[in-house]
Symmetry: C2
Subunit: 264 residues, 2 copies
């Protein structure tokens, strides 16, 4: 038993004795950190071609009362599917849930990061198949699976990130249909699948089989996850909290991980 | 020591031994529940008069491939300050932080609910003063304070919720300036203040002193919190996760509490 475990347990008992919540004592014990896996929304945010980009409009910025007061407010408009966002199952499955219907117990879940960036090796035509992963997954409990292709480093360069060719085709890595079928059959505790690229299907896909397989099994997708920083593969808690657009097929997402701090 | 505490501790030790995260074992132990304090965004969502309401536009809903596939996507537009939303300090304080700059350690904090609905007693002209609260606050540690006026039950009726008069004045309860000054001087661990009405200042306010006092001390506000359901006053963890609008003065917010389950 580590000293840290002893201290946490003492805190737990003391909180329990007072009828308080041990959870706060643990989350805020100093042993955990919060990591933001979200790209910010601004006029540069990556959206799918020919969809409505995020548009930010300054409405008011003014000093009042002889310079002693300040008031500022803006408006914005956007498609549902850009930047770091969630796809609700209804996006590709008519009987699927909308964003506003997703239950919180599928949005606050253990996080698993599957880092395949070494396999991808910056190849925009890489498609992940089952044989790449046979030895890697350890997803026995309810969780969200995030695949790291190593693509967040291109997010600031829209053309490179999407791999736009002269004929306006897209090229960026993604998941093969086989992977989606495998997850939905062999790992029934997985509630959502995310990627650090613009789509769970690879850029060259025309019929989006991964979207279809995952959504028809009730899973949500997370696209454009920001994985610029190191995140432990196992042991973090995912907070997958989209803007609550009642009938949304998708929505801007605030995606945060609560992770054990690295030991120095 | 309760059986439940013993079990959690056993889980903690077993997780620690495997190098895993005890936090997941505790959050998902079955002892906690997730409560959504967010009103959904749709065409009925309450916005401040004369600001851009949430507008939801269906772009595509179509069956393809002979009826075997489905695709749906929408767009939306809105002002920053409507529905359940956050006010960044920059909204009323020129040197304050924008939404995209708010640090996560001020957004994931212990939650305190101050239920003053019994004092308000449905009076739209009620203004909370310091003497109402002298005996109530126990906010020694970093936290977000949410005041419950008992107004969420009117959210479906925009006119009643805002208390719109024939001369277009507003009447709903709020905080007095004295309370804001008291919080920012006597409770320096409070990082944000929220209400279950449309503004931290009462509806009749013309110069918004509560906004000004709180924002100039670096606090954020949360407005239109959904308190339709019971939430424990102490012991919950607040997840205050706004859409990450980089230069936002405010943003739609997903506001969730993780709370100890009630014992039956």
């Amino acid at each position: 038993m580590s000293l840290s475990a002893l201290v946490l347990f003492a805190l737990y008992l003391s909180a329990a004795a007072e009828g308080q919540n041990a959870l706060n004592d643990i989350i805020f014990s100093g042993d955990f950190e919060f990591i933001d896996l979200t790209h910010p929304f601004d006029n540069e945010t990556v959206y799918w071609p020919n969809t409505r980009n995020f548009v930010f409009t300054r409405k008011t910025e003014e000093l009042g009362q002889g310079g002693s007061s300040w008031y500022a407010a803006n408006e914005f408009a956007a498609g549902e599917h850009g930047g770091t966002h969630i796809d609700a199952p209804y996006h590709f499955y008519r009987e699927g849930l909308h964003v506003g219907e997703l239950p919180l117990d599928k949005l606050i879940v253990p996080l698993i990061i599957v880092d395949v960036s070494g396999l991808v090796n910056d190849d925009p035509n890489f498609v992940l198949q089952k044989h790449h992963l046979d030895y890697m997954l350890n997803a026995g409990n309810r969780c969200v699976l995030i695949f790291k292709f190593g693509w967040s480093k291109y997010f600031h360069d829209k053309k490179k990130y999407l791999g736009v060719t002269e004929s306006d085709e897209l090229n960026f890595p993604g998941l093969g249909e086989e992977i989606a079928t495998w997850i939905t059959t062999a790992y029934k505790n997985v509630v959502g699948v995310g990627v650090d690229v613009a789509s769970v299907d690879p850029g060259c896909s025309k019929d989006f089989p991964v979207h279809k397989v995952l959504s028809s099994s009730g899973l949500y997708n997370i696209e454009n996850v920001n994985l610029s920083m190191d995140v432990p593969s196992y042991g973090c808690t995912a907070l997958v909290l989209p803007m609550k657009i009642r009938q949304g097929t998708g929505a801007p997402l605030r995606f945060v991980a609560i992770c054990p701090k690295k030991l120095n």
